[in-house]
């Protein structure tokens, strides 16, 4: 490819590095977007895509990262998101930033509406909104409330809002993740049309088929580094090729050796269906079957939003969703798991992915957190025996190697790894038959991860069934005896340890996405 004949890029991010504490989120990332192109950025969860976009848009201000941003020929140092927006860089986040109870027009002109002496000029707002909506192909009235239009149209309103700010570089973070086929196609067509008007786009997406349809270039990120940039016009880009460069990495010895001793089925779920808690018609889990055997570690793989956490939480006392149907058997007996106390009594435990908000009493000490799910075991006639409680907490402190000054230490002051051990202790003390661990190593350093893996192995060896939900595929491959792949609320593949690889898992997901679309 001859560089000399190309126009200079509208955006060049050079050697961007960004650290959070000791964790390098981005190292030496390079990204060049040419004027009037659709540039796709792909990578696994946690590869650094969103972080890179936050650096670009000024969410992470200049000085909090290394490297330089060249935009329209000049080096830019954004310190707030307003700085980048002023130059036409508009980012549309995965979670839409619209206000549900305001109208389309009010949302589009939320900041700086046309006004006279500080009074909003409503007819001008109306007129301009109509123009913008026409550009994105929406025919809804400008005074329709956001809450009354579907998610696909909301996405288009976001884009209309971007257009109102004279956008020159549009960044879309997973824009089609929650859209159906028609809406997705409409959105992609819009991007193509913008391209013909000279507006560049950066498209972050997991949907490789969409990307290969519209992208001019594809940059692959992995572990916070640029792996390669593919030019879709100069070469034929195979999806397999993209997948391989997304996931390729060596597994080293980050996982403790473990020989499973697998027994009979301990948990069986039949025909499980769950609907979205707010949107009545949206089915999140579609009639799935699932089982775990004694001593087995089963992984559930999938992309964000695949329905893994929703499945686990709906199983655990219906803490997610509505219209839940299906049967649960534990050790061959039908179980009532319709409330959390019943689920715990039946032998289930769910270790949440969000330990700060759903797992711990951060203001209370380790002792009170450990005993919380099984207070009956440290009490007599409803009165807590503080000595017994202390003994139990101290027992877990030494068994789990929780690093703390004493079990009277507030859990909010512990490190992420130690907090996770406290949550695990709580659920071990509840003595479950089956543990569901949701992202058990999220936000934990490598050393603590190894300890958590060891604990997981010991749990399985004690005859329990263990389910691990994780977005880190190497982790699943490293510790699981069997991996089920979930996508769009159904299982789309199942691999035993020998047959599983990152590529086979990713392929199962992608294949299903294409079938769905």
């Amino acid at each position: 490819m001859d560089v000399m004949t190309e126009p200079p890029p509208i955006l060049e991010m050079r050697n961007i590095s960004k650290r959070f504490g000791n964790v390098a989120a981005l190292s030496d990332v390079t990204l060049a977007v040419r004027p009037g192109e659709i540039h796709a950025v792909v990578g696994e969860n946690g590869a650094g895509k969103s972080t890179l976009m936050k650096v670009l848009s000024g969410v992470y201000p200049h000085g909090s990262y290394d490297g330089e941003i060249i935009y329209e020929g000049e080096e830019r140092r954004f310190s707030t998101i307003n700085d980048s927006e002023a130059l036409g860089i508009i980012i549309i986040h995965q979670e839409l930033a619209l206000i549900p109870l305001l109208s389309i027009a009010e949302n589009i002109f939320l900041v700086g509406p046309p006004s006279r002496f500080g009074v909003i000029d409503r007819s001008e707002v109306h007129r301009r909104t109509l123009q913008l909506l026409a550009k994105v192909g929406l025919s809804d009235a400008p005074d329709t409330l956001i809450t009354n239009i579907g998610i696909g149209k909301q996405q288009l309103v976001e884009i209309a809002k971007a257009l109102s700010k004279q956008v020159r570089l549009l960044i879309l973070d997973e824009p089609t993740a929650s859209l159906n086929e028609t809406d997705s196609a409409a959105l992609l067509d819009l991007l193509v049309e913008f391209r013909s008007h000279g507006i560049s786009s950066i498209l972050i997406s997991h949907k490789l088929n969409e990307i290969s349809k519209v992208a001019d270039q594809i940059t692959v990120l992995r572990d916070g580094r640029t792996v390669e940039t593919l030019n879709c016009h100069a070469q034929v880009v195979e999806e397999d090729h993209i997948i391989r460069s997304m996931v390729d990495r060596d597994l080293e010895s980050r996982f403790p050796k473990h020989t499973p001793r697998i027994g009979e089925t301990i948990l069986a779920v039949h025909g499980w269906s769950v609907y979205h808690p707010q949107h009545v018609g949206r089915q999140m889990i579609r009639n799935i079957n699932f089982h775990v055997r004694k001593g087995e570690i089963v992984g559930i793989a999938g992309l964000m939003g695949a329905g893994r956490t929703e499945f686990a939480m709906s199983l655990f006392g219906r803490m997610y969703g509505q219209n839940i149907t299906g049967r649960v058997e534990i050790e061959g007996k039908a179980c009532d798991v319709s409330t959390v106390p019943r689920a715990i009594a039946a032998g289930l435990a769910y270790v949440t992915e969000d330990r700060k908000h759903l797992g711990l009493l951060l203001g209370e000490d380790i002792r009170k957190n450990v005993s919380l799910a099984n207070l009956g075991a440290v009490s007599a006639r409803g009165v807590i025996d503080d000595i017994r409680e202390l003994r139990v907490a101290d027992g877990y402190r030494s068994r789990m190697q929780i690093r703390c000054s004493s079990v009277y230490q507030e859990t909010g002051k512990l490190s992420g790894g130690n907090q996770q051990k406290v949550v695990l202790s709580k659920w071990l003390f509840a003595d479950p038959k089956v543990l569901i661990l949701d992202e058990p190593t999220r936000g934990i350093d490598v050393g603590a991860k190894y300890e958590i893996y060891t604990i997981i192995n010991e749990l399985a060896d004690s005859g329990r069934g263990v389910v691990v939900i994780s977005s880190e595929m190497p982790e699943l491959l490293g510790i699981c005896d069997r991996i089920c792949v979930m996508n769009e609320g159904v299982f789309v593949g199942e691999f035993d340890q020998a047959g599983a690889s990152q590529e086979s898992i990713m392929r199962a997901i992608m294949r299903n996405r294409e079938q769905v679309l």
Binding site: F316, G317, M319, T339, V340, P341, A343, I344, Y350, T352, H357, L358, G359, L360, L361, L362, G363, E364, K368, L372, A373, N374, L375, G376, A377, V378, S379, G382, V383, I384, D386, I387, R388, L390, R391, V392, D394, G395, S398, R399, Q401, S405, S406, V407, Y408, K426, L428, F429, A430, D431, E451, T454, I455, E458, L459, S462, G463
Partner: protein, 407 residues
Amino acid sequence: MSEISLKPAGTPTGKPAGDRPASHGIGFLTNNLRQYGMLLSLFVIMAFFQVVTDGTLLRPLNLTNLALQNSYIVIMALGMLMVIVSGHIDLSVGSVAGFIGALAAVLIVQYNIPFIPAAIICLVAGGLIGAAQGYWVAYFKVPSFIVTLAGMLVFKGAMLAILGGQSVGPFPVTFQRLSSGFIPELIGDGTGLRQTSVLIGVVVGLALVWLNMKARARQQSHGIETEPSGFFIAKNVIVFGVITWFSWLIASYRGLPNVLVIMLGLIGLYAFITNRTIIGRQIYAIGGNRNAAKLSGIRTERLTFFTFVNMGVLAALAGLVFAARLNTATPKAGLGFELDVIAACFIGGASAYGGVGQVTGAVIGAFIMGVMNNGMSIVGIGIDYQQVIKGLVLLGAVCIDVYNQKR
């Protein structure tokens, strides 16, 4: 790493390391400043008013009045503390207390129902009112601020309705004794120093010291580090001394008021429930992190409902005590009580965000307010500036708490 035991309550490994108390006196005191600071400020305020009122504050008559004047606030503060700890608020308690007082007057004075059945009907009615409000808060998820604001209006109006806009009284003597009666004198002739009351004070003081010693011995026998022994002895000597002294002072007027006995019994009961029982622990857990509590199998709705029922019963009891004290049910009864009760909890260290607060703190908070009311009245500060000063004390106390937490 050692093998994980399958038994949930397995034998502990290693020596329990309870280094909660710092092992030397000064360090221990500063570490626990928050716990004792409130008590210390109560003593300072009492000492201050004792001096500026030329000793009137601690005269036996005034001390007895102080206990009587604040009893209904303290009783409601016990329930309010649990409501606040669980992350809610109850603005209706004043109106409910007034309404129940009116109900008692109608039952006893107009329908001649005897004291005991009337009191039971009133307490049950309080519980039902609490249940009605708790239902909307716990199961219907209406913010407690709004539900109880509505309740405040509803029961204020209901009180006016059943009283017909005028005072109803007087009560028969049996009912009045609830507030203005004193425990019967078993020893002595019922004049001069009431020996029974002194004896009860001494016995209660000794019992508290004995309980403290038992708990300490139990902790030591399990190898748990305890507070320094010098501190422990000093603390118990002060506790015993103060209780005996106060019972002496009160005994030299007319002895222990009935309502003080009820109040002390309830304080003990609620301190036990909040600190030692599963229910108490779970209420703190709900206030600390509702979602985590729910995911740990705690029936958050049911417990929230329970705290409101409990609050309703205590508000009813307070309403009875207040009506008995005035010997009449007036349309103004209960006006503004909720503010004193809530202020007592926050001055006593409860957190507006839930999850934090102690029964003893709320009681001390109530008495800080009570002593200030009483002291300022004796000194002759008008009701106008009393309000200003009380408001500033509330703000100051909470500011100190917020500052301490940031530290």
